[in-house]
Symmetry: C2
Subunit: 336 residues, 2 copies
């Protein structure tokens, strides 16, 4: 059903939308929810710029517009959802709590500091030092343990049940999706003629929010590493299902399974699922520096990798958007 | 006369425009020249984005808009001037020739490759390896020798006299100024309410071009390292005069003296001259990564350093623009 980034035989591109799909059973953000989120988070969020690349830049026949969301506060898109979730809730004395491979935890910790709240952040051991340090620098309590995001999530849920702190989920909450959806709202103003939009998928909050904004007005392409292919596995099996959580982008895209909201979004609004190799992700990361002087972490370069490496081919007359969604890495890792 | 970045006694801020100044004796670009340059170079140049920073980002009381010109083709603003000079001329069989601390040479080499011309680039020995390698990668002939830009310039002039190649000056040609002035044209569209604009100064091509665009519609602030203060020395002495060429930004800002066109621009349109320490430049470079995930070389962070370090203080109700003008460094140098 889904397109793979490997050479040789390429399965046909199949849109995953099921026209007979029933409406999702869980709440999904509407365009009005996303507009309200944009107003709510505006004092705390940057309107990130776009840059248009011509065929001479990319070697492709179509124009490409990058949304430089790695320039967002805290270095990833995550504060959009984190601020929206926190500002939509009554936050108890215990404050907020989150589990994260790093970017979401940093966003929640930053939001809590900005809003003068207590924060506890659970991160797995392999989270890059650059991310741990940034979270600790906010003054949040940081708990490091387990090997993958899922371990941290389980520990954080148990802790939240004890303390009553407000859980800010990394992707599977409506307010989080609405926050991430504000990227779509901005991007449609900045590049109104986009026909396709590539986003990286881990738990699917970024995709779910943006697709909820655009609905059927754009063709979404969901890009994942072969080493942590949550949406691909869900599409293949017909339901959110545990997937491997490995590879160069696991710290930002390594959810154990796709979020239920993102999966419902996929059933409602569709998109292509594309998986690709870690090697092609690292090549895109180096290309971003070499050709554009943009530093992105591997997860932040994953969507672009599908385009540069040819795992997904734009149709003629397309204007392709790509979200560059994070840069919380050591910049030295993109040299050479 | 000029403002310094050192602590303690600060001389009053004095605009350097002389209302009785005679018009410059050398040709200066007009707004029409700059519009024509924009049309001429458009197929080869990126419209670089801006990002607006709020007081929460900078700790300043006024908004700041950064022009992210380090995202330009070749990683600096220089191709604007290089393409405009080359496309305005009849280029002989011998091709084009330039001397450069690196960024201009890379721009000329890139333009020559794009336009299928021969190029010879003279660079001083201390030019960073990242810049030398990028120039060589274009296929240009690269001559490395001497210690500073001025040595390379003298050698290139001698070679041009032999071969008849078209000299593309790093800053002191009208067509080069007109090309750099297209930054002003773009920026006025992107942020029409700017009141002040900070630019780094080496030979003064960037300043000269942008000031020729804005004329009296904006207040320019010319920022230089204390270690290579060409405009500051010229303002102090009343004429372009040899200055030291040292410090962390010498490879991009280390002209021996200010260009005659830039000096004439200063006499006509004015601005504040600000000098600051290498340390404050390196701090601004790290701030750009730490707070914004932007990598800039020291010369590219120099204008911002005047604002962040307080060497220049914006008046109340200002909306300050800053040109981030280059990123041809090893990205690892901005870590931590």
């Amino acid at each position: 059903m889904a397109e793979t980034g490997r050479g040789g035989k390429r399965p046909p591109v199949v849109r995953c939308r099921d026209p007979a799909a029933v409406p999702p059973s869980r709440p999904m953000p509407t365009q009005d929810d996303i507009r309200a989120a944009a107003d709510r988070i505006a004092p705390h969020i940057r309107r990130t710029p776009v840059i248009r690349l011509d065929p001479a830049d990319t070697g492709l026949a179509v124009p490409v517009t990058l949304k430089l969301e790695q320039l967002q506060v805290t270095g990833s898109f995550k504060p959009r959802g984190a601020f929206n979730r926190i500002l939509s809730a009554e936050v108890p004395e215990a404050g907020v709590i989150a589990a994260s491979g790093g970017n979401h935890g940093l966003a929640v910790a930053h939001a809590a500091k900005t809003l003068k709240m207590n924060a506890e952040i659970y991160v797995p051991g392999p989270t890059p030092e650059a991310k741990k340090k940034r979270i600790m620098d906010t003054g949040a309590w940081v708990y490091v343990g387990g090997k993958v995001y899922e371990h941290a999530r389980v520990a954080a849920e148990a802790r939240a049940a004890e303390t009553g702190a407000l859980m800010v989920h990394a992707y599977d909450q409506e307010e989080v999706l609405a926050g991430q959806g504000t990227i779509g709202l901005e991007l449609e103003q900045q590049a109104p003629d986009l026909t396709h939009l590539l986003v990286a998928v881990g738990g699917g909050g970024l995709y779910g929010g943006i697709a909820s904004w655009y609905q059927d007005r754009i063709h979404m392409v969901l890009v994942e590493p072969e080493a942590c292919p949550t949406m691909f596995v869900a599409v293949m099996t017909g339901a959110p299902t545990d997937a491997p959580t490995d590879g160069v982008a696991a710290d930002s895209l390594g959810a154990r399974r796709i979020g239920s909201l993102a999966f419902a979004t996929m059933k409602q609004w569709g998109g292509n699922s594309v998986v690709l190799s870690d090697d092609s992700i690292l090549k895109a990361q180096r290309w971003l520096w070499d050709r554009l002087r943009v530093v992105a972490e591997p997860g932040g370069a994953t969507a672009l990798a599908a385009l540069l490496g040819g795992a997904w081919k734009p149709p003629k007359d397309a204007h392709v958007g790509v979200v560059i969604c994070g840069a919380n890495c050591d910049p030295g890792t993109v040299s050479g």
